[in-house]
Symmetry: C2
Subunit: 336 residues, 2 copies
Amino acid sequence: MRVLITGGAGFIGVRLARELLKTGRLNGQDITELHLADLYAPPVDLSSDARVRVHTGQLLGQTDLLASGFDGVFHLASAVSGECELDFDLGLRSNLDSTRAVLEGLRHSGKVARLVFASSVAVFGPDAANPLPDLVTDNTLASPQTSYGTHKLMSEYLIADYTRKGFIDGRSARLMTVAVRPGKPNGAASSFFSGIIREPLAGVDAICPVSPDVTHPVSSPANTVKGLLTVFEASREAMGGRLALNLPGLNVRVSDMLLALEEVAGPIVRQRVRFERDERVAAIVANWPRATSADRALALGLKPDASFKAIIEQYIQDCQQPTYPADALKGMNTTG
Amino acid sequence: MRVLITGGAGFIGVRLARELLKTGRLNGQDITELHLADLYAPPVDLSSDARVRVHTGQLLGQTDLLASGFDGVFHLASAVSGECELDFDLGLRSNLDSTRAVLEGLRHSGKVARLVFASSVAVFGPDAANPLPDLVTDNTLASPQTSYGTHKLMSEYLIADYTRKGFIDGRSARLMTVAVRPGKPNGAASSFFSGIIREPLAGVDAICPVSPDVTHPVSSPANTVKGLLTVFEASREAMGGRLALNLPGLNVRVSDMLLALEEVAGPIVRQRVRFERDERVAAIVANWPRATSADRALALGLKPDASFKAIIEQYIQDCQQPTYPADALKGMNTTG
């Protein structure tokens, strides 16, 4: 089968691609071609695989690629929340227009592709009349308070309509905040959820821009990829009628994240995190769910990560791999 | 103040324009210019008013008009539900792209326009896992089952985001099915709700494509226009945080509509309606709310029509006006 990952050189895209190439199969079929579309080229372990085809450039310009006909698509390409708040046009173009281009291309390809769209917990938000409930469920009324969340939600509904019309077989998985991400901080307002673990482990001081009392649903990279694959492989019946669902999140308090860090890596590492409120980030995060449930995803067999300690341990294990920066765990030596 | 009505030559647009010109004021200010944009020219009583400016053609081509800066906008232009189901591209262009063009034009005009968007009860729908509740409220999870409803809902969220960013001061009023509409049946799947009253009154046989047991929320033209004006004039605070609300509907059963017709116009008129199921229409209508509430609109002082009899009487009174077809009530003579 021909599979496409948009955002295929991004963090989750690369991890998903590696998983697909490792098993070689998706939904009971062999993967003969894996197309990775992104602004940048993917790592060489991917591009050197004989099954992989690399497409670099704006997704909006990939008309021929999109219309070439795929059996499966993971549509992950996206500008992140912080970027979209700063650049409204970028958000419209990267997150709304690009999704439309993907859907239109697939519609006219002559093949009904199964598609998983990476939506986001950011579709939920409070408004003056309706504060967010303590627990945000699959049935909570979406009321996004960022352009990012708005465009994700609009895309969910567009995908549902393309599916209803039989143009694609789509479903939307609302990703929780992925932690721990490797590499540099990005423009996402949620970036610090990884930063306060990643930087101290690398021996670098980190700033937490929100209160230690903030709670938030997070998911490890491995569990997030598992979620995308499971939603892809679910039958339409198993999706239960509606096509958008919450992926499972581990609802965790920032202070408990740091306790787990101390447990895994010691007090010196934990003390590299200091609290310095950033009003812009804090205001965005204040409008995000404090905790989520994911009954429909649980019914598909998915689960949240077992603990935040397990999430940190997964990151440390990942860092042993050659594709991670050599100094990713430099900060741990000081405790050894 | 400069006011724009998109769809200003349509049925509701014309009625709204007449009301605005009659009072000459909106939200406490004098209306100096009333711009009517539509595919077609409005009736001459409007175009001959010194305050009126007429703009004919596709809304997507009206870039200069939209960017010229308005104090108030009623965005009513829309392809109807039946059309959008038959022509997917038309729906995307007329209902989604046009809304974006309106919002972008206003955003770049240098003036923050107050905007009321005519959304629709069609944003609500059932899905396999979640049948519609007996009563659809402001808090019911939207799950549109038509492209029309999908694009209306997407536009609601886009308008909320443009408003959050301060580009416009927008709000969305979900119109109930408007009855009784004058003139010819249109492509809307809801067209028969007017047809089964209008045609018999004109002495013409009418077909009801759904069961007499079907219930549906309807609103008279006058009450619908009142709803648009009230939502326009509501303060942001009075809107209660969320920017989309249901307009009040009179929840009425088809059989009771016909009883009211008989009460007003006699049994001969009522007997001109026969039931002949149209599966395409029935399938669309089956996915629509059977009854709605509108607590947030009621809090603004709005109310549903008093009775369906009152709605028919309003139509009969309207038909006395010179702008209505001379033979609109021809069928009533047979009972006199």
